[in-house]
Amino acid sequence: MVRRPSPRARAAQWLLLAIVVAVAWYLGSQAAANIARRHATFGFVFLFENTNFDIPFRLIPWSVGDTYGRALLVCVLNTLLVAAMSIVAATLLGLLVGVMRLSANWLVRNIALGFIELVRNTPQLVQIIFWYVAVLQTLPGPRQSITLPAGTLLNVRGIYLPSFAPGGGADVLWPLALAVLLATPFVWRLRWRGLPLGSRSLLVSLLSVLLFAGGIDHIDYPALRGFNIAGGIQVVPELVALWAGLTIYAAAFIAEIVRAAILSVHKGQREAALSLGLKPRQVLSKIILPQALRVMIPPMTSQYLNIIKSSSLGAAVAYPELFQIFAGTVLQQTARELETMFLLMAIFLAINLATSALMNWYNHRVALVER
């Protein structure tokens, strides 16, 4: 029998709804009154207007005079770049530290403990500025760059990696190489005469590398020219500092999540695995981690969401992400405070909802199937 809520409970719900609507209406009318008082309008037409500022770091072409809409895209990509890099790195580092934390070796265990406590108990903004000011800015200037292997240069302006200059066929070969590379996991699962292809599919990856190499015209080495190093790919210190700050901070929390998840696996599982003759590494990778993963995912999701939101701290170290450019330059130049803030919130909300949907889907897949 379906239980119906009592009339009193219903009344309470309607009352709550009425209060929520009233508050929303009040806030909305206040905002409208404020806009009217400042003789302002509300609208997003400004996104089609032309900008008059530069964005120092971007993944896609950008020049002064492009529209605000394009600036939005550039900034969203910058935010996504640092968030994605940090999520991947923090997961790996957190997994490592979490496992170290449970090591039988006293030194390893306590190094992990020290790392976690140090990182977890200091403000994240301080850490990001520490990486930027105290670590990366002690590097020498461009004219005294440190030369690393393979023609890589390191100085206060960043890391300069050699890049591959595209040749004539690169337009076709490089996308093809990417497609072939992405196909590898599917080939791995294919069966030939009843047997899975498995590691033989790595030949496909090799093909991808060959295709890529075929598209290279020459290798572009970074070298000093004028004020700066020219050529190659520049990884700016702002990105590195923000990446380090986000990764290390989140890794400390992820390590604790990993530790808790591993401890949640009943010790009988481990004992049974060992008595079956599995090696300690196999026990971890085949018995413990797969079971721990189920417990890990929901708290990991919130860590990932935190990383995405904290990427807005990049404003402190001049990393041009969404918050810095839109809540700073764009807000000042267009005087559209409500619109820019609304955009920022909507975009962060969208990114985070998408991430959490993805994680929920994954969680659903690895969850125990209950019958």
Binding site: R37, R38, H39, A40, N52, F53, D54, P56, V64, G65, I129, Y132, V133, Q137, T138, P140, G141, P142, V156, R157, G226, F227, N228, P237, E238, A315, A316, V317, A318, P320, Q324, I325, A327, G328, T329, L331, Q332, Q333, A335, E337
Partner: protein, 350 residues
């Protein structure tokens, strides 16, 4: 019944007519300002200033606020309350400064901010007085061997975000078909550190701020200013909310009182003698010896005398902040009074 009503109406009209001549007279003398009333009721002025930049506004080693903008906050409080200390300073970043003022969180914004068209129109702010004339200046390391701004093609410059500086550089790049790269910071501390570490080839801001930036460098002598400025004249000054003319007037005339002090030769040290001896009618009216000028602004008639006695005139405050006494050694140039070829003037006190 009808007769009684019309009689009553007539009586009321007569009464109103009798009282009428009185009310315009009081309205003339009574200054109506929501902001001023709020400030008086609160017993404290809330002044929006810079978060910390030598010259304009910064906290010294004892935690006391110092700087030219601070002198203006103190002068305003002195005019209202007779005490320059009744001020609460709110450090605002360049990003939030105007929103904070619009929302009424601060009473006045005196924060090395440029007076512009958009801020006056679209942002709905009044621009009562310019207390510092400057222009966007570049500071570079001497070792770079750069002589002109055009030589900066390909260089990276550190600057603060949310300012007119970005637009000026974009315009300059376009006009000269060169590319000066920018690196945008939220707060000056990190921007200074990045410039000092060599992350950028130079630093840019208005002339006063660049002088301040140089004073924070590890080796200030390694840095030089480029002679050429861009973006035209930058008049920096105070901002108030539109719709409160009386308050804007007070902020404006506090500035003029400080400049007038210098023009009339009244300073902190001689204000007492001058008050007794001065003959210039304009100066006498300013000092409250004649006329009712303070009342017309909504304060008492000693307001300007108090400002000059407690805070000093414009020139004294410039010397103590940007001048030799302040340690920045920035010449007066445009910020001198009109008598010495500068742009600081006062309307006549009539």
């Amino acid at each position: 019944m009808l007769r009684f009503r019309s009689l009553a109406t007539a009586g009321c009209c007569a009464l109103a007519w009798l009282l009428a001549p009185v009310s315009p007279a009081t309205a003339q003398n009574e200054v109506k300002s929501v902001t001023l009333d709020t400030v008086k009721k609160r017993g404290q002025l809330i002044c929006g200033v810079d978060t910390g930049i030598p010259g304009y506004a910064f906290q010294d080693s004892k935690g006391e606020w110092q700087g030219l903008d601070i002198a203006y906050c103190r002068a305003l409080a002195d005019a209202i309350f007779g005490s320059p200390d009744k001020v609460k300073y709110i450090g605002t970043t360049s990003k939030v400064r105007f929103s904070v003022l619009q929302s009424g969180e601060i009473d006045v914004l005196i924060r090395d901010s440029e007076h512009t068209f958009i801020r006056n129109t679209q942002l709905g702010l009044d621009e009562p007085a310019v207390n510092f004339f400057t222009a966007q200046t570049f500071m570079v390391k001497k070792s770079l061997n750069v002589a002109h701004t055009k030589d900066l093609n390909g260089a990276t410059i550190c600057l603060l975000t949310g300012t007119t500086l970005e637009t000026n550089i974009a315009d300059y790049n376009r006009a000269n078909n060169i590319k000066i790269n920018t690196l945008l910071f939220d707060k000056s501390e990190e921007a200074f550190a990045a410039a000092d570490a060599g992350r950028c080839d130079g630093y840019t801001d208005d002339g006063g701020s660049v002088a301040a930036a140089r004073s924070t460098m590890k080796k200030p002598d390694d840095w030089m200013f480029l002679p050429e400025t861009i973006g035209g004249l930058q008049p920096l000054g105070s901002f108030t909310r539109q719709g409160d003319e009386a308050w804007t007037r007070l902020v404006k005339w506090v500035h003029y009182a400080m400049v007038a002090g210098e023009v009339f030769g009244v300073s902190k040290s001689n204000v007492e003698q001058m008050k007794a001896a001065i003959k210039d009618p304009d100066a006498r009216r300013m000092l409250g010896l004649e006329g009712d000028f303070g009342k017309l602004l909504g304060v008492d008639n000693d307001w300007a005398y108090r400002i000059l006695k407690d805070i000093g005139n414009y020139g004294e405050n410039y010397d103590a902040t940007f001048g030799d006494k302040g340690g920045l050694g920035l010449p007066r140039a445009l910020n001198n009074t009109y008598q010495h070829g500068g742009m600081m003037y006062t309307p006549s006190w009539k």
